[in-house]
Amino acid sequence: MKNTGQLLKEKLLLSFEDIQAEVSDEHRLTVNCRKDTVITVLSFLNNSGYDHLALISCVDWIKDNVLELVYILTAYAEDKGKAKMNILVKTRITREKPGLHTVIPVFENAEPYERELHELYGIHFMGHPRLTPLFLEREYKIPPFRKDFDTRKYVQEVFDQIPFVEDKKAEK
């Protein structure tokens, strides 16, 4: 008997042409797709019962010059086989002027995740209602979570960390 992951993989491969799907680890399905098919893949998965968007993450593969977006889906189902599944939908976009369509129409809770990625990685989500700053107060030339942003150097420049405490002026 095939397990839930394998069945889903077959369904996915039947419905979409240019995606790669791989079942690893029994309860994990990894789907690689192009950036314009993400939203259709996600809505397909949503309709198949994987209706909980757990996380949208981003990995900066600076050597390949790409940002990899990872959408992690699980199911709210009470059915054991389904509830155990973790689906990772991955897509790669360029690091220069990165942008893709928002998935808010499919998953409402994607809104803060996309806002966060916009702020920390500089990814522009087309169709997002408010790409305003979420966490940060200062402005950064390079979005701080990108690999080429060197926090230690930045800290040295901005906060004067070393030497230990320099407060001579105040003590005068």
């Binding site: 107060e137 960390q161 405490v165 407060d167 002026k169 105040a170």
Partner: protein, 192 residues
């Protein structure tokens, strides 16, 4: 404790008032706040030391900077601190405000709190336990007695310096300077 020093009390009632009614500002600045609820409730009961949390900066004279201070929080710390009436005392909690602590290489937390507002005492630990908070309070009493807890005077005297540092991190501050010019420390009379 110095309950026997009644004479001393009577000599300086002003200081006594400052010492034994430290009203702490209710502001969770960082993770050190987790030890404040135990301190103010049944088990430890900070009220025995005259420390109670109050709602607004206008009523408070003790500012507990509980843990790390992110850049965004710093703005509100400064605002709250400036709104507090004098005399006011600041206590830094844990490693983070002293020298960055756990977040020494974070791009979004400040490393030395005393560059932005004056701090009268520091407590080591991550977190400091409630006991350490109480000992800090008793130490603060001593400092108040000796007139050493004069951070607010330092703030007045070196306002320019603090304001410069604040603006270096936060950009142009939207509120006007609290003090118009650098006023010498001595010109200000301390209470009692």
């Amino acid at each position: 404790m110095d309950r026997n020093n009644l004479g001393k009390w009577l000599k300086s009632p002003g200081k006594m008032g400052q010492k034994y009614s430290l009203h702490a500002l209710y502001f969770c600045t960082g993770c050190g706040i987790i030890e404040i609820p135990p301190s103010i409730t049944t088990r430890w009961d900070a009220e025995r030391f005259g420390v109670i949390p109050v709602a607004t900066p206008r009523q408070a004279n003790l500012f507990l900077i509980t843990g790390y201070v992110s850049v965004k929080t710093l703005r509100y710390i400064i605002r709250s601190y400036e709104q507090m009436p004098e005399p006011k005392f600041t206590v830094g909690f844990g490693s983070c405000p002293i020298n960055g602590g756990m977040y020494w290489d974070s791009y979004n937390t400040i490393k030395h709190l005393d560059k932005y507002i004056p701090v009268d005492g520091w407590i080591a630990g991550c977190m400091p336990r409630p006991e350490a908070v109480f000992v800090a309070v008793t130490h603060l009493w001593t400092l108040i007695d000796k007139g050493m807890a004069d951070g607010y005077n330092k703030y007045r005297a070196n306002y320019q310096y603090y304001r410069e540092n604040q603006e270096k991190i936060l950009g142009k501050l939207e509120w006007p300077p609290l003090f118009s010019k650098n006023i010498k420390h001595e010109e200000y009379r301390t209470i009692a």
